[in-house]
């Protein structure tokens, strides 16, 4: 199976499912005005957008969207983590303002993507590792919630983020080893499963 097929499949699945759930979460935010919902929903929206642009950039090679993809996803996952850790309204509202500001900068990054240099390997490695680490932190947090209060939602979310973390980790060797396309493909498949479980957690919990 060519690695581009799994990569495109992951992008499409990530983009569509995250977009769908982001819309539902943001719609709920309009009704109950929970800051955590906004942070989570907006982060999913950004991740969905990064996946969509990555898919499109496969057809327009002059768009160097790697910067937007890696930085956008890492930052969005970081906001998901912060939204879970913070409790007080004023902290969450401050996070919203920071997220909106950072997202505006990310859009600038996307707008200037044709003029950006091709992302270098060390930076890609760092950003990819950051995504894996943040997903692992989120997995650990949901796991601790599950041990404290065993709900199906926290179990599935912990499993989803564990698989996402593992998937990102499996893509790291391709930046340092000469022939690691197989591992990259496996990483994509693992992330596909992670996204499916994430979708399941929002559907059946």
């Amino acid at each position: 199976m060519p690695s581009s097929l799994t990569s495109n499949g992951l992008n499409i699945l990530l983009s569509l499912s995250f977009f769908f759930f982001a819309l539902r979460v943001l719609y709920l935010y309009i009704h109950i005005r929970s800051a955590r919902l906004f942070l989570f929903g907006f982060s999913m929206l950004v991740i969905s957008f990064t996946a969509a642009t990555d898919f499109v950039s496969g057809f327009f090679l002059f768009l160097h969207t790697d910067w937007f993809l890696f930085i956008g996803q890492a930052i969005s996952l970081l906001f998901v983590l912060f939204s879970l850790l913070r409790t007080f309204d004023r902290h969450l509202e401050l996070l919203i303002r920071v997220q909106l500001f950072v997202s505006a900068l990310l859009l600038l990054l996307l707008a200037f993507s044709p003029f950006l240099p091709t992302s270098s390997t060390p930076w890609l490695f760092c950003f990819s590792a950051a995504r894996s680490a943040i997903c692992f932190a989120i997995f650990f947090y949901y796991l601790s919630i599950f041990f404290h209060k065993d709900t199906r939602f926290s179990l599935l979310m912990s499993l989803a983020f564990f698989l996402l973390s593992l998937g990102y980790l499996l893509t790291l060797p391709r930046y340092v080893l000469p022939d690691a396309s197989l591992m990259d493909m496996v990483g994509d498949i693992v992330r596909v499963v992670g996204v499916l479980i994430l979708s399941l957690s929002f559907t059946i919990s």
Binding site: H31, R33, S83, H148
Partner: protein, 312 residues
């Protein structure tokens, strides 16, 4: 002065029994003595107790049912108050006919205390629902004393008569280890009812239906209802242990949902009513619903939290 003497007597009596009290009981009673100074109705004390049981004893849901007498002399068992640990828990899971039947059974059998898995108490469907939200066990107790329980503090209950105290406390918990807390609960409730009697929240049987209204000085210390400020309560479990898209988080009632959108923590009840072009009588039931479902909390204009009983 008389109250202070009674309080001192409470403290002296409590000191005498201190050797057999646990640390938890000490903490509870100390806080109870402090909190009851600003309470004006027994429902506030019951609500406070349930809140403490949920918070400190790791209970998920605490309910208080009481036998009441309506103006026609009919005895009914009604829920006086309930507290959830997780505000996102759907109301219908623990507020339904099956739970009411259980409370009635306990009231009729005068069962002092029990602790059982929910499988043995409810139908299979109800058990599945309860277990889905982690409510694996149900415990409770029946309390009966020769003192009068005033009617609920609400407009609807204005015509009800005081009745000898018969309460059923029901708790829903996660783990079987919560069984060990039942003796503590019984001890605390006993002390709480004694304190309530000293504070005139409960009345001796001989007073009969001639219950005196609260002293005017106590009534004056609470601001008028229309000047209270509702504030939103953020569910801490949102996106952590509860799925926001499960359908249980949205406010079911359309009018209450509409009202909730305008609550910003600064507008008083009066201002909200005029903003929405409704009367106070129309907005109060919606606020009660939001309060009961833990979407909001009430505060005075200077930021003091008000017990939920103020809205009844």
């Amino acid at each position: 002065m008389k109250n202070d003497r009674n309080v001192n007597a409470d403290l002296v009596a409590f000191d005498a029994a201190q050797s057999r009290s646990t640390t938890d009981e000490l903490i509870f009673i100390t806080q109870l003595l402090r909190s009851t100074r600003t309470m004006f109705h027994i429902d506030e004390l019951l609500f406070w107790l349930e809140g403490q049981f949920v918070q400190r004893l790791q209970m998920q849901v605490a309910q208080c049912w009481a036998v009441q007498l309506d103006q026609f002399g009919q005895q009914t068992l009604n829920m006086r108050s309930q507290v959830y640990r997780d505000p996102s828990l759907p109301v219908h899971i623990v507020t339904n006919d099956q739970v009411m039947l259980l409370a009635k059974r306990i009231a009729l059998s005068h069962e002092n205390s029990f602790f059982q898995p929910v499988d043995t108490l409810f139908s299979s469907y109800q058990t599945i629902l309860l277990k889905r939200y982690g409510l694996h066990y149900c415990s409770g107790c029946f309390i009966q004393q020769n003192i009068l329980l005033p009617p609920p503090n609400s407009d609807l209950a204005a015509q009800c008569l005081p009745v000898p105290l018969r309460l059923v406390l029901l708790f829903f918990v996660h783990h079987s280890s919560s069984q060990n807390t039942l003796p503590l609960v019984n001890a605390i409730v006993e002390q709480a009812l004694r304190i309530a009697k000293d504070r005139h929240l409960l009345h001796p049987l001989y007073e009969g239906p001639r219950l005196l209204p609260p002293p005017s000085s106590q009534v004056a210390s609470l601001p008028p209802l229309s000047e209270l400020v509702p504030r939103r309560l953020e569910s801490q479990e949102l996106l952590r242990s509860s799925n926001p898209l499960s359908g249980s988080l949205a406010i079911a009632d359309k009018k209450a949902r509409y009202l909730y959108k305008y609550i910003d923590g600064r507008l008083t009840i009066d201002r909200l009513a005029s903003l929405l072009h409704v009367s106070l009588a129309e907005i109060l039931p919606l606020l009660r619903l939001l309060l009961a479902q833990k979407w909001i909390q009430l505060y005075t204009s200077d930021g003091r939290q008000v017990q939920s009983g103020a809205l009844r």
